[in-house]
Symmetry: C2
Subunit: 168 residues, 2 copies
């Protein structure tokens, strides 16, 4: 649940100055996020010759070692959608993903990472962690924790919490 | 300049737990940003039958009342790019944007909002401010200020500061 000291009644936040401050916060958050995302896209391209949508698909499959139905994969993708079907076709062609039948359901197929796919993703994920740390490591642990707590407050107030809070 | 208490030497932030914490922060920030952006897209569509890229183009032109060259417009767009040329064509067809010659340069044209375009954008911007306030108004002014300050620290450390910090 959200930290009470980060909540306030709607009435206190409707002055024009505070509305402008909310807008300033949002534009800054959007700018920072877009820049970090662009940095990650660029590094994935240069260091692994890959794309963010492909990375996101592999991240989702990595979390579900048994595999996912295509519909489950689409809903597990928290970040970018891209063309999931096209990405899976490429991953299959590259030997990183296998299609496997579902026991007891002749028509359903699961997609899951092969051993090669898991190894490929592990290498990218390790590099990704270091890139993220290079960016957010400028914050003290306390500032990081405060930022997480403030984002939690926003998530809860927006009903964005899904219960599925695993990290990639 | 960044708040010294939010900075730390790289050496303190390389423990696996802190790297995971940075990753958690980034995934949370990305998720919150994507959800807010999706909310704004949806509201623009429902309430104004318009798109986020069109809103962003109009926001940039609104800030530069004298008009912009197409190249200036593209670099002024901080948020989404979309197909800027296509968006301008539509805005011209809708009477919201005018193309005007540049004094002393026969080949150059500026694009600028018409009176109708400025009024249309004003209405959308006022609604946009209220949507943002409905989301971020759950934070106390102090939490908002802290979040802005932490984002500033990240911006400075990333060299994201451009000097052009006007709000839309």
């Amino acid at each position: 649940m959200s930290d009470p000291d980060q909540r306030s009644s709607a009435a206190t936040n409707t002055s024009p100055a505070l509305i402008k401050q909310s807008l300033r916060l949002w534009l800054k958050m959007l700018k920072t996020t877009k820049h970090v995302e662009a940095t990650i896209r660029e590094k994935l391209r240069i260091e692994f010759d890959t794309t963010l949508p492909r990375f996101d698909v592999m991240a989702a499959l990595y979390r579900f070692e048994e595999g996912l139905k295509m519909s489950e994969l689409s809903s597990a993708l928290r970040v970018s959608n891209g063309n999931v079907t096209g990405i899976i076709e490429r991953l299959v062609a590259d030997g990183a993903v296998l299609r496997v039948p579902v026991a007891g359901d002749k028509r359903a197929m699961l997609v899951r990472l092969t051993h090669k796919g898991r190894e490929e993703f592990s290498r990218m994920a390790a590099a990704h962690e270091l890139w993220i740390n290079a960016i957010f490591g400028c914050l003290t642990p306390d500032a990081t924790a405060r930022l997480i707590s403030i984002l939690d407050t926003i998530e809860h107030s927006q009903g964005l919490v899904t219960g599925e809070e695993n990290d990639a």
